[in-house]
């Protein structure tokens, strides 16, 4: 049999070049999902709108937020909750990749180990940015009146993204530990619901029983919410900004290390 196969050789570049290239290739892969996977597309656009409208109009009248209007109070909370939910796509994506065998393929390639995880987590940032912009626009339409300057918005966005990234990497760990796609959905659900509801997202913490209140006021999600709330509508900042940044950064670093470690071990046991 005749052969006209031209052998190809890897291109010569520095190690760093290829690590960044691997990241870029897999980020591109995962971001395509936002558009092509109908589930993701719909939840990216409609979930934030639905949450905002439900809380604004169903609970809004019954919750006393003092001098601040409920829609102004609610906005930071709903923004952070929807970012936390959006970050669970990493968990689902990672479990799906393992179940479908595509991780085996990636692992057999001369690519950076963490690139699959980076692809999913960075995509969470992109998806959450889209959701957040939609939420701001819908917020304006239903009476949200922020006092923030452009600078405040930028810092608020930075805090939100740092938090999102941290949750995404935690969610990568959940994805790596789950055996089934149903399992991982359940796991992220029981994780995100309590940490976002036992916070100052939807109601002032003052009305909670003391133990719950102590948790709610000191957990990272509340600091993130209060920081963004302060930046957008001018409530007191206190230490919330710093604490939000330090918590998020800490969770991010620890989760990254743990996730990459599990990824390597799990697939090469």
């Amino acid at each position: 049999m005749s052969t006209n196969l031209q052998k190809v050789q890897p291109e010569q570049h520095s190690k760093l070049y290829w690590v960044l290239s691997d990241f870029a290739v897999l980020i591109k892969r995962s971001t395509v999902y936002i558009v092509r996977n109908m589930d993701q597309a719909l939840s990216t656009v409609f979930m934030p709108i639905m949450f905002l409208l439900l809380f604004r109009y169903v609970f809004g009248g019954a919750i006393d937020t003092g001098p601040v209007s409920y829609v102004n109070f609610l906005f930071a909370g709903i923004l952070v909750q929807s970012a936390a939910f959006g970050s669970t796509y990493t968990a689902i994506g990672v479990t799906t990749d393992i179940r479908r065998g595509i991780v085996d393929r990636f692992k057999s390639l001369p690519m950076a180990d963490s690139a699959v995880l980076v692809g999913h987590t960075v995509t969470d940032l992109v998806r959450n940015t889209i959701s957040s912009i939609i939420m701001v626009l819908v917020g304006f339409a239903v009476g949200f009146r922020p006092t923030a300057s452009a600078w405040d918005w930028l810092i608020a966005f930075g805090i939100l993204m740092l938090f999102t990234f941290a949750i995404s990497w935690m969610s990568a760990i959940m994805g790596l530990l789950s055996k089934t796609i149903e399992g991982v959905q359940w796991l992220t659900f029981v994780f995100v619901f309590p940490i976002t509801f036992i916070s100052s997202a939807f109601v002032p913490t003052a009305g909670m029983p003391s133990a719950l209140r102590a948790f709610a006021e000191n957990q990272p999600v509340t600091h993130v919410i209060e920081a963004i709330r302060s930046l957008t509508i001018g409530t007191p900042m206190g230490n919330h900004g710093w604490l939000a940044a330090i918590w998020s950064l800490g969770i991010l670093v620890v989760s990254y290390i743990v996730a990459v470690y599990i990824f390597k071990r799990r697939t090469a046991q």
């Binding site: 190809v8 290739v25 395509v32 057999s108 001369p110 690519m111």
Partner: protein, 324 residues
């Protein structure tokens, strides 16, 4: 033979998952540019062997070198010389065929121009040009397998692992995939494929290693293995004992087997139709009445029964142990 005539050399591979011993000293050598079929039932250790060779799993003992690179010491080197196609088509459903190939090409660290050229070549070779811009989600099982195989070839690796490449495919897709595998071998690629079907091993492989219970229990060419079991046989069942007696006298030869209870006899079918016609004519002349006639190919079960004393379709199904 010199050591570097072999692309794949595995020595004494051992692997256990908990108390379950999956590999118990597997030795395999594959000569450069040949196809070796790893033949065995579910749970024999085929997938585990491939996963260790493809750097996805660490062995508990033993060693593997691929093109001279040790899998545990230089997995990065090994990864740049292998292509892997697993049991299920590992393609990205939401990417198109073309996007899938380009993605894998870049992850093999090929240059952009090479990636584009190879992608188009492979789409052509695997008959996927028309489907190239559709997402893989819309592909049939056969198309996915072809895309999966194409992806593992994009960097023209000298060594390819195919783990049960045709499981679940319809006969036409299977033939198509076989053609492609044969072409690869003709181009000088070393291929290790696993299969549960003797027919597949027979058609494709230069040599076959039969694996059972985590050990290679027989090795050789398809013909050598079949000789151990017996080749395709023609079997006649006759109407009466008298017919059988007469028939035995007519059909002699060393491959004759007689089952008096069933009033049947069988002979090896080497010379094909000619022999069949010859026998039938003799029977007719002697007025021997044939109740039934059938052809029987040796199956994997026959090989296994012969080699191990137990059936190939073993009750244990532990092959999946390595995928957790």
């Amino acid at each position: 033979m010199k050591k570097n005539d072999y692309s794949i050399v595995a020595k004494g591979l051992k692997k256990s998952f908990g108390k379950l011993i999956v590999l118990d000293g597997v030795d395999i050598k594959v000569k450069r540019g040949t196809i070796l079929a790893l033949l065995g039932p579910n749970g024999a250790g085929k997938t585990t062997t491939v996963r260790i060779m493809a750097t996805l799993l660490k062995a508990d003992g033993g060693s593997v070198t691929i093109e001279g690179h040790d899998v545990s010491e230089r997995p990065d080197k090994v990864r740049s010389v292998i292509g892997l196609t697993g049991q299920y088509a590992a393609v990205d459903e939401y990417l198109t065929g073309r996007e899938n190939l380009r993605m894998i090409g870049r992850l093999y660290h090929l240059g952009k121009a090479d990636v584009i050229r190879r992608t188009e070549e492979l789409l052509e070779q695997f008959d996927l040009v028309e489907a190239a811009d559709r997402t893989a989600k819309t592909y049939s099982g056969g198309m996915r397998r072809r895309l999966d195989l194409a992806a593992s070839l994009i960097a023209t690796p000298p060594v390819i692992f195919l783990d049960e490449p045709t499981t679940g495919l319809d006969p036409r897709s299977r033939l198509n995939l076989w053609d492609n595998i044969e072409k690869l071998a003709a181009e000088g690629t070393t291929i290790l494929l696993t299969t549960q079907h003797l027919e597949e091993a027979d058609r494709l492989a230069n040599s076959i290693a039969v694996i059972d219970g985590g050990k290679v229990i027989a090795e050789g060419t398809a013909d050598e293995l079949k000789d151990k079991v017996g080749r395709e046989r023609i079997q006649f069942t006759l109407e009466t004992d008298a017919d059988l007696k007469k028939a035995i006298k007519l059909v002699d030869g060393e491959t004759l087997q007689v089952d008096e209870k069933r009033k049947s006899l069988s002979v090896v079918h080497d010379s094909g139709v000619y022999k069949l016609k010859d026998i039938l004519e003799k029977f007719e002349k002697s007025k021997i009445r044939v109740a039934n006639m059938s052809l029987a190919k040796p199956t994997l079960d026959d090989v296994f029964l012969q080699l191990t004393g137990h059936k190939a379709t073993a009750e244990n199904n532990n092959e999946n142990g390595g995928k957790k």
